[in-house]
Amino acid sequence: MKIDVKARELLDRYLLGVRRHLSGKDREDIAKEIESHIFDTLEERFPGLDEITVVNLEEIFREMGAPRKVAWQYRSQQSLIGPRFFPIYVIVARILVAVVVGAILLSSVIATAVGEPQSFWHVLGSFLGSAWSGALSAFGVVTLIFAGIERAVGDKSWEEMEDFEDLKEMNEYKASELPELPQREKKFDRVETIFEIIFGMIGLAFLTYIQTSGGAFPVRTGAGEGRQFIQVLTDNYLPLIPFAMGITGLELARSITLFVQGHHSSVTNWWHIATQITNVILMGFTLNAMPIISLEKLNAAWLNVNIANLDGAANTIISILIGLGIVGTIIEVSIKTYRELKEPSY
Protein backbone atom coordinates (compact mmCIF):
# COMPACT_ATOMS: atom_id res chain seq x y z
CA MET A 1 0.00 0.00 0.00
CA LYS A 2 1.51 3.32 -1.09
CA ILE A 3 1.14 6.58 0.73
CA ASP A 4 1.02 9.97 -0.95
CA VAL A 5 3.56 12.65 -0.05
CA LYS A 6 1.18 14.83 1.97
CA ALA A 7 -0.19 11.86 3.90
CA ARG A 8 3.36 10.67 4.66
CA GLU A 9 4.24 14.10 5.99
CA LEU A 10 1.09 14.15 8.13
CA LEU A 11 1.90 10.71 9.50
CA ASP A 12 5.48 11.77 10.31
CA ARG A 13 4.17 14.87 12.10
CA TYR A 14 1.73 12.77 14.12
CA LEU A 15 4.44 10.29 15.10
CA LEU A 16 6.78 13.15 15.99
CA GLY A 17 4.01 14.50 18.24
CA VAL A 18 3.75 11.11 19.96
CA ARG A 19 7.54 10.82 20.37
CA ARG A 20 7.71 14.29 21.91
CA HIS A 21 5.32 13.22 24.63
CA LEU A 22 7.22 10.03 25.39
CA SER A 23 10.40 9.64 27.33
CA GLY A 24 12.85 6.83 27.84
CA LYS A 25 14.76 4.56 25.56
CA ASP A 26 11.65 2.88 24.12
CA ARG A 27 10.12 5.97 22.56
CA GLU A 28 11.42 5.28 19.02
CA ASP A 29 10.27 1.69 19.33
CA ILE A 30 6.81 2.73 20.53
CA ALA A 31 6.46 5.22 17.66
CA LYS A 32 7.47 2.51 15.20
CA GLU A 33 4.83 0.15 16.61
CA ILE A 34 2.14 2.86 16.42
CA GLU A 35 3.10 3.45 12.78
CA SER A 36 2.81 -0.27 12.10
CA HIS A 37 -0.63 -0.28 13.79
CA ILE A 38 -1.81 2.68 11.70
CA PHE A 39 -0.86 0.88 8.46
CA ASP A 40 -2.58 -2.32 9.63
CA THR A 41 -5.73 -0.33 10.41
CA LEU A 42 -5.60 1.42 7.02
CA GLU A 43 -5.26 -1.91 5.22
CA GLU A 44 -8.23 -3.33 7.06
CA ARG A 45 -10.35 -0.18 6.72
CA PHE A 46 -9.62 0.54 3.06
CA PRO A 47 -8.97 -2.78 1.31
CA GLY A 48 -7.84 -2.42 -2.27
CA LEU A 49 -6.81 1.19 -1.82
CA ASP A 50 -3.85 2.01 -4.08
CA GLU A 51 -2.63 5.05 -2.26
CA ILE A 52 -3.31 6.33 1.25
CA THR A 53 -4.40 9.96 1.34
CA VAL A 54 -4.65 12.56 4.08
CA VAL A 55 -8.42 11.90 4.31
CA ASN A 56 -7.87 8.17 5.05
CA LEU A 57 -5.19 8.91 7.57
CA GLU A 58 -7.16 11.59 9.40
CA GLU A 59 -10.05 9.16 9.87
CA ILE A 60 -7.71 6.92 11.86
CA PHE A 61 -6.14 9.85 13.76
CA ARG A 62 -9.57 11.12 14.84
CA GLU A 63 -10.25 7.73 16.43
CA MET A 64 -6.85 7.65 18.12
CA GLY A 65 -6.95 11.24 19.38
CA ALA A 66 -4.18 13.77 19.87
CA PRO A 67 -0.60 12.45 19.97
CA ARG A 68 -0.33 13.36 23.66
CA LYS A 69 -3.32 11.15 24.41
CA VAL A 70 -1.72 8.22 22.60
CA ALA A 71 1.59 8.80 24.39
CA TRP A 72 -0.06 9.13 27.79
CA GLN A 73 -1.26 5.52 27.65
CA TYR A 74 2.36 4.39 27.69
CA ARG A 75 3.35 6.20 30.85
CA SER A 76 4.94 3.75 33.26
CA GLN A 77 4.21 5.83 36.32
CA GLN A 78 2.03 8.77 37.19
CA SER A 79 3.46 12.02 35.87
CA LEU A 80 3.48 15.18 37.96
CA ILE A 81 1.06 16.57 35.38
CA GLY A 82 -0.03 14.05 32.78
CA PRO A 83 -0.97 14.82 29.18
CA ARG A 84 -4.69 14.96 30.09
CA PHE A 85 -4.20 18.27 31.92
CA PHE A 86 -0.97 19.39 30.30
CA PRO A 87 -2.50 21.64 27.58
CA ILE A 88 -4.65 23.59 30.03
CA TYR A 89 -1.80 23.68 32.57
CA VAL A 90 0.50 25.32 29.99
CA ILE A 91 -2.15 27.95 29.15
CA VAL A 92 -2.85 28.79 32.82
CA ALA A 93 0.87 28.88 33.69
CA ARG A 94 1.67 31.20 30.77
CA ILE A 95 -1.18 33.58 31.60
CA LEU A 96 -0.36 33.71 35.31
CA VAL A 97 3.39 34.16 34.81
CA ALA A 98 2.72 36.96 32.26
CA VAL A 99 0.30 38.69 34.66
CA VAL A 100 2.72 38.46 37.59
CA VAL A 101 5.71 39.75 35.57
CA GLY A 102 3.53 42.52 34.11
CA ALA A 103 2.36 43.57 37.59
CA ILE A 104 5.96 43.61 38.88
CA LEU A 105 7.05 45.69 35.86
CA LEU A 106 4.24 48.16 36.51
CA SER A 107 5.08 48.44 40.19
CA SER A 108 8.79 48.93 39.33
CA VAL A 109 7.90 51.74 36.90
CA ILE A 110 5.68 53.44 39.50
CA ALA A 111 8.30 53.00 42.26
CA THR A 112 11.00 54.50 39.99
CA ALA A 113 8.77 57.43 39.02
CA VAL A 114 7.71 58.42 42.54
CA GLY A 115 10.57 57.08 44.69
CA GLU A 116 14.15 58.10 45.35
CA PRO A 117 16.27 58.43 42.18
CA GLN A 118 18.35 55.30 41.61
CA SER A 119 20.81 54.16 38.96
CA PHE A 120 19.45 52.35 35.90
CA TRP A 121 21.40 49.18 36.76
CA HIS A 122 20.01 49.16 40.30
CA VAL A 123 16.42 49.46 38.99
CA LEU A 124 17.02 46.81 36.32
CA GLY A 125 18.63 44.41 38.80
CA SER A 126 15.82 44.93 41.31
CA PHE A 127 13.17 44.36 38.60
CA LEU A 128 14.86 41.22 37.24
CA GLY A 129 15.20 39.80 40.76
CA SER A 130 11.55 40.46 41.62
CA ALA A 131 10.32 39.25 38.20
CA TRP A 132 12.32 36.02 38.51
CA SER A 133 11.09 35.20 42.02
CA GLY A 134 7.51 36.25 41.18
CA ALA A 135 7.43 34.18 37.97
CA LEU A 136 8.93 31.20 39.79
CA SER A 137 6.38 31.44 42.61
CA ALA A 138 3.47 31.74 40.14
CA PHE A 139 4.78 28.80 38.14
CA GLY A 140 5.26 26.76 41.32
CA VAL A 141 1.74 27.49 42.60
CA VAL A 142 0.12 26.55 39.26
CA THR A 143 2.22 23.38 39.08
CA LEU A 144 1.22 22.37 42.61
CA ILE A 145 -2.48 22.97 41.91
CA PHE A 146 -2.40 20.92 38.71
CA ALA A 147 -0.34 18.18 40.36
CA GLY A 148 -3.09 18.04 43.02
CA ILE A 149 -5.81 17.79 40.35
CA GLU A 150 -3.82 15.06 38.57
CA ARG A 151 -3.75 13.02 41.76
CA ALA A 152 -7.39 13.75 42.60
CA VAL A 153 -8.50 12.44 39.21
CA GLY A 154 -6.18 9.47 39.66
CA ASP A 155 -6.06 6.69 37.17
CA LYS A 156 -9.28 7.52 35.35
CA SER A 157 -9.13 6.83 31.64
CA TRP A 158 -10.04 9.46 29.05
CA GLU A 159 -13.43 7.88 28.58
CA GLU A 160 -14.17 7.98 32.30
CA MET A 161 -13.53 11.69 32.54
CA GLU A 162 -17.04 12.73 31.54
CA ASP A 163 -16.93 15.82 33.76
CA PHE A 164 -14.08 17.25 31.74
CA GLU A 165 -15.72 17.72 28.33
CA ASP A 166 -13.56 20.74 27.44
CA LEU A 167 -10.45 18.82 28.36
CA LYS A 168 -11.51 15.86 26.26
CA GLU A 169 -12.00 18.22 23.34
CA MET A 170 -8.49 19.60 23.82
CA ASN A 171 -7.15 16.08 23.48
CA GLU A 172 -8.92 15.34 20.23
CA TYR A 173 -6.89 15.10 17.04
CA LYS A 174 -6.38 18.45 15.30
CA ALA A 175 -4.03 18.63 12.31
CA SER A 176 -3.22 22.27 13.11
CA GLU A 177 -1.75 21.24 16.47
CA LEU A 178 0.67 18.67 15.09
CA PRO A 179 4.32 19.73 15.34
CA GLU A 180 6.11 20.73 12.17
CA LEU A 181 8.85 18.39 11.05
CA PRO A 182 12.19 19.82 12.09
CA GLN A 183 14.52 20.58 9.23
CA ARG A 184 17.53 19.42 11.17
CA GLU A 185 16.87 17.36 14.24
CA LYS A 186 20.08 16.80 16.14
CA LYS A 187 20.65 13.10 16.57
CA PHE A 188 21.96 11.76 19.83
CA ASP A 189 25.53 10.57 19.44
CA ARG A 190 26.64 8.22 22.22
CA VAL A 191 30.36 8.42 21.36
CA GLU A 192 30.28 12.24 21.27
CA THR A 193 28.53 12.27 24.65
CA ILE A 194 31.10 9.87 26.16
CA PHE A 195 33.87 12.22 24.97
CA GLU A 196 32.01 15.18 26.49
CA ILE A 197 31.82 13.33 29.82
CA ILE A 198 35.53 12.39 29.71
CA PHE A 199 36.61 15.95 28.81
CA GLY A 200 34.26 17.35 31.47
CA MET A 201 35.86 15.13 34.11
CA ILE A 202 39.39 16.05 32.97
CA GLY A 203 38.41 19.74 33.01
CA LEU A 204 36.96 19.47 36.49
CA ALA A 205 40.05 17.61 37.74
CA PHE A 206 42.34 20.27 36.21
CA LEU A 207 40.37 23.14 37.74
CA THR A 208 40.35 21.40 41.13
CA TYR A 209 44.12 20.98 40.85
CA ILE A 210 44.85 24.64 40.03
CA GLN A 211 42.41 25.71 42.72
CA THR A 212 44.35 23.76 45.35
CA SER A 213 47.81 24.64 43.95
CA GLY A 214 46.97 28.36 43.79
CA GLY A 215 47.61 28.47 40.05
CA ALA A 216 51.06 26.88 40.31
CA PHE A 217 52.40 23.96 38.25
CA PRO A 218 55.26 21.57 39.06
CA VAL A 219 58.30 22.12 36.86
CA ARG A 220 61.52 20.10 36.77
CA THR A 221 64.07 22.83 36.32
CA GLY A 222 67.15 20.76 35.47
CA ALA A 223 68.77 17.32 35.49
CA GLY A 224 69.15 16.02 39.02
CA GLU A 225 67.13 18.84 40.48
CA GLY A 226 63.80 18.34 42.17
CA ARG A 227 60.48 19.70 41.08
CA GLN A 228 59.64 23.24 41.83
CA PHE A 229 56.16 24.80 41.90
CA ILE A 230 55.91 27.91 39.76
CA GLN A 231 52.82 30.10 39.80
CA VAL A 232 51.60 30.57 36.24
CA LEU A 233 48.05 31.81 36.82
CA THR A 234 47.89 35.25 38.40
CA ASP A 235 45.92 36.14 41.51
CA ASN A 236 43.44 37.92 39.19
CA TYR A 237 42.24 34.58 37.82
CA LEU A 238 42.11 32.52 41.02
CA PRO A 239 38.75 33.93 42.30
CA LEU A 240 37.16 32.90 38.98
CA ILE A 241 38.14 29.22 39.29
CA PRO A 242 35.14 28.19 41.49
CA PHE A 243 32.78 29.67 38.87
CA ALA A 244 34.60 27.81 36.08
CA MET A 245 34.29 24.63 38.17
CA GLY A 246 30.57 25.27 38.63
CA ILE A 247 29.98 25.69 34.89
CA THR A 248 32.10 22.63 34.04
CA GLY A 249 30.20 20.64 36.65
CA LEU A 250 26.84 21.73 35.23
CA GLU A 251 27.90 20.81 31.69
CA LEU A 252 29.24 17.47 32.90
CA ALA A 253 25.94 16.76 34.69
CA ARG A 254 24.10 17.63 31.46
CA SER A 255 26.27 15.23 29.43
CA ILE A 256 25.60 12.44 31.94
CA THR A 257 21.85 13.19 31.84
CA LEU A 258 21.99 13.13 28.03
CA PHE A 259 23.83 9.81 28.10
CA VAL A 260 21.31 8.25 30.49
CA GLN A 261 18.17 9.46 28.68
CA GLY A 262 19.63 8.61 25.27
CA HIS A 263 18.19 11.54 23.30
CA HIS A 264 18.25 15.33 23.17
CA SER A 265 15.33 16.86 25.03
CA SER A 266 14.03 20.29 25.88
CA VAL A 267 15.64 20.03 29.32
CA THR A 268 19.13 19.09 28.05
CA ASN A 269 18.98 21.68 25.24
CA TRP A 270 17.93 24.56 27.52
CA TRP A 271 20.42 23.34 30.12
CA HIS A 272 23.17 23.62 27.50
CA ILE A 273 21.99 27.11 26.47
CA ALA A 274 21.96 28.25 30.13
CA THR A 275 25.50 26.96 30.80
CA GLN A 276 26.75 28.55 27.59
CA ILE A 277 25.27 31.93 28.60
CA THR A 278 26.93 31.59 32.02
CA ASN A 279 30.14 30.71 30.23
CA VAL A 280 29.96 33.91 28.17
CA ILE A 281 29.53 35.92 31.37
CA LEU A 282 32.53 34.14 32.93
CA MET A 283 34.62 34.81 29.81
CA GLY A 284 33.65 38.49 30.12
CA PHE A 285 34.86 38.54 33.75
CA THR A 286 38.04 36.73 32.67
CA LEU A 287 38.73 39.42 30.06
CA ASN A 288 38.15 42.04 32.71
CA ALA A 289 40.60 40.25 35.02
CA MET A 290 43.49 40.34 32.52
CA PRO A 291 46.41 39.63 32.88
CA ILE A 292 45.59 36.11 34.02
CA ILE A 293 48.88 34.36 33.37
CA SER A 294 52.46 35.16 34.20
CA LEU A 295 55.15 33.25 32.30
CA GLU A 296 58.24 35.18 33.37
CA LYS A 297 59.16 32.83 36.26
CA LEU A 298 58.35 29.77 34.16
CA ASN A 299 60.50 31.13 31.34
CA ALA A 300 63.44 31.77 33.61
CA ALA A 301 63.19 28.31 35.20
CA TRP A 302 62.25 26.11 32.27
CA LEU A 303 61.15 27.55 28.93
CA ASN A 304 64.19 29.77 28.30
CA VAL A 305 62.73 31.55 25.27
CA ASN A 306 63.91 34.99 24.33
CA ILE A 307 60.75 36.97 23.77
CA ALA A 308 60.44 40.54 24.92
CA ASN A 309 57.39 41.12 27.12
CA LEU A 310 56.41 37.42 27.14
CA ASP A 311 53.56 38.01 29.62
CA GLY A 312 52.09 40.79 27.51
CA ALA A 313 52.18 38.65 24.36
CA ALA A 314 50.69 35.59 26.12
CA ASN A 315 47.88 37.58 27.72
CA THR A 316 47.10 39.34 24.43
CA ILE A 317 46.80 35.98 22.67
CA ILE A 318 44.55 34.66 25.47
CA SER A 319 42.42 37.83 25.30
CA ILE A 320 41.96 37.36 21.55
CA LEU A 321 41.03 33.69 22.01
CA ILE A 322 38.55 34.54 24.78
CA GLY A 323 37.10 37.34 22.61
CA LEU A 324 36.65 34.88 19.74
CA GLY A 325 35.17 32.39 22.22
CA ILE A 326 32.64 34.97 23.41
CA VAL A 327 31.59 35.84 19.83
CA GLY A 328 31.41 32.17 18.81
CA THR A 329 29.42 31.17 21.91
CA ILE A 330 26.97 34.07 21.50
CA ILE A 331 26.36 33.01 17.87
CA GLU A 332 25.96 29.36 18.92
CA VAL A 333 23.61 30.26 21.80
CA SER A 334 21.52 32.53 19.52
CA ILE A 335 21.15 29.78 16.89
CA LYS A 336 20.30 27.14 19.49
CA THR A 337 17.81 29.41 21.28
CA TYR A 338 16.11 30.30 17.98
CA ARG A 339 15.94 26.63 16.97
CA GLU A 340 14.64 25.56 20.37
CA LEU A 341 11.93 28.24 20.33
CA LYS A 342 10.94 27.50 16.73
CA GLU A 343 11.10 23.72 16.93
CA PRO A 344 10.99 22.84 20.62
CA SER A 345 12.27 19.45 21.70
CA TYR A 346 10.44 17.43 24.34
Binding site: M1, D26, D29, I30, K32, E33, I34, S36, H37, F39, D40, T41, E44, M64, G65, K69, V70, Q73, Y74, S76, W158
Partner: protein
Protein backbone atom coordinates in the same frame (compact mmCIF):
# COMPACT_ATOMS: atom_id res chain seq x y z
CA UNK B 1 -13.06 -5.39 36.93
CA UNK B 2 -12.54 -5.13 33.18
CA UNK B 3 -8.98 -3.89 33.65
CA UNK B 4 -7.96 -7.08 35.40
CA UNK B 5 -9.73 -9.22 32.84
CA UNK B 6 -7.87 -7.59 29.94
CA UNK B 7 -4.60 -9.08 31.17
CA UNK B 8 -6.15 -12.54 31.26
CA UNK B 9 -7.77 -12.04 27.84
CA UNK B 10 -4.52 -10.83 26.24
CA UNK B 11 -2.31 -13.50 27.81
CA UNK B 12 -4.75 -16.24 26.80
CA UNK B 13 -4.37 -15.32 23.12
CA UNK B 14 -0.60 -15.15 23.16
CA UNK B 15 0.25 -18.82 23.37
CA UNK B 16 0.69 -18.41 19.63
CA UNK B 17 2.72 -15.35 18.66
CA UNK B 18 0.76 -12.34 17.44
CA UNK B 19 1.41 -8.72 16.53
CA UNK B 20 -0.63 -5.96 18.17
CA UNK B 21 -3.21 -5.45 15.46
CA UNK B 22 -3.88 -9.19 14.98
CA UNK B 23 -4.39 -9.56 18.73
CA UNK B 24 -6.85 -6.64 18.88
CA UNK B 25 -8.75 -8.14 15.95
CA UNK B 26 -8.83 -11.60 17.47
CA UNK B 27 -10.09 -10.32 20.83
CA UNK B 28 -12.70 -8.11 19.15
CA UNK B 29 -13.84 -10.96 16.89
CA UNK B 30 -14.38 -13.06 20.02
CA UNK B 31 -16.55 -10.31 21.49
CA UNK B 32 -13.95 -8.78 23.82
CA UNK B 33 -13.78 -5.11 22.82
CA UNK B 34 -10.34 -3.61 23.27
CA UNK B 35 -8.67 -0.67 21.54
CA UNK B 36 -5.10 0.07 20.53
CA UNK B 37 -4.83 2.70 23.27
CA UNK B 38 -5.25 -0.03 25.89
CA UNK B 39 -3.66 -3.05 24.27
CA UNK B 40 -0.27 -1.78 23.02
CA UNK B 41 0.75 -0.18 26.34
CA UNK B 42 -0.48 -3.33 28.12
CA UNK B 43 1.71 -5.52 25.92
CA UNK B 44 4.69 -3.30 26.77
CA UNK B 45 3.97 -3.57 30.48
CA UNK B 46 3.58 -7.35 30.30
CA UNK B 47 6.88 -7.54 28.48
CA UNK B 48 8.54 -5.33 31.10
CA UNK B 49 7.22 -7.74 33.72
CA UNK B 50 8.98 -10.49 31.74
CA UNK B 51 5.77 -12.35 30.98
CA UNK B 52 6.12 -11.95 27.21
CA UNK B 53 8.90 -12.11 24.67
CA UNK B 54 8.83 -9.91 21.61
CA UNK B 55 10.75 -9.31 18.44
CA UNK B 56 10.54 -7.10 15.40
CA UNK B 57 10.15 -9.08 12.22
CA UNK B 58 10.47 -7.51 8.80
CA UNK B 59 7.75 -9.06 6.72
CA UNK B 60 6.01 -7.83 3.65
CA UNK B 61 4.77 -5.12 3.62
CA UNK B 62 6.32 -3.67 6.80
CA UNK B 63 8.03 -4.57 10.08
CA UNK B 64 5.78 -5.81 12.89
CA UNK B 65 6.48 -6.50 16.51
CA UNK B 66 5.42 -10.01 17.49
CA UNK B 67 4.61 -11.00 21.06
CA UNK B 68 4.45 -14.47 22.58
CA UNK B 69 4.11 -15.90 26.08
CA UNK B 70 7.29 -17.10 27.74
CA UNK B 71 7.50 -19.69 30.53
CA UNK B 72 6.76 -17.17 33.29
CA UNK B 73 3.80 -15.83 31.31
CA UNK B 74 2.46 -19.34 30.74
CA UNK B 75 2.71 -20.06 34.44
CA UNK B 76 0.87 -16.83 35.33
CA UNK B 77 -1.80 -17.54 32.70
CA UNK B 78 -2.41 -20.96 34.24
CA UNK B 79 -2.78 -19.35 37.65
CA UNK B 80 -5.06 -16.55 36.38
CA UNK B 81 -7.28 -19.04 34.53
CA UNK B 82 -7.67 -21.11 37.67
CA UNK B 83 -8.47 -18.03 39.81
CA UNK B 84 -10.94 -16.81 37.19
CA UNK B 85 -12.81 -20.14 37.12
CA UNK B 86 -12.98 -20.19 40.92
CA UNK B 87 -14.33 -16.64 41.00
CA UNK B 88 -16.93 -17.39 38.32
CA UNK B 89 -18.17 -20.30 40.42
CA UNK B 90 -18.32 -18.10 43.53
CA UNK B 91 -20.20 -15.32 41.71
CA UNK B 92 -22.60 -17.82 40.14
CA UNK B 93 -23.35 -19.11 43.61
CA UNK B 94 -23.84 -15.60 45.00
CA UNK B 95 -26.19 -14.31 42.29
CA UNK B 96 -28.34 -17.38 41.70
Amino acid sequence: MRRGVIVLAALSQLEQEQYGYSLIKELNDKGFEVGQDTLYPLLRRLEEQELLDSEWRVEDPRPRRYYVLNDTGRELLKQLKSEWRDQVEVIKEIIK
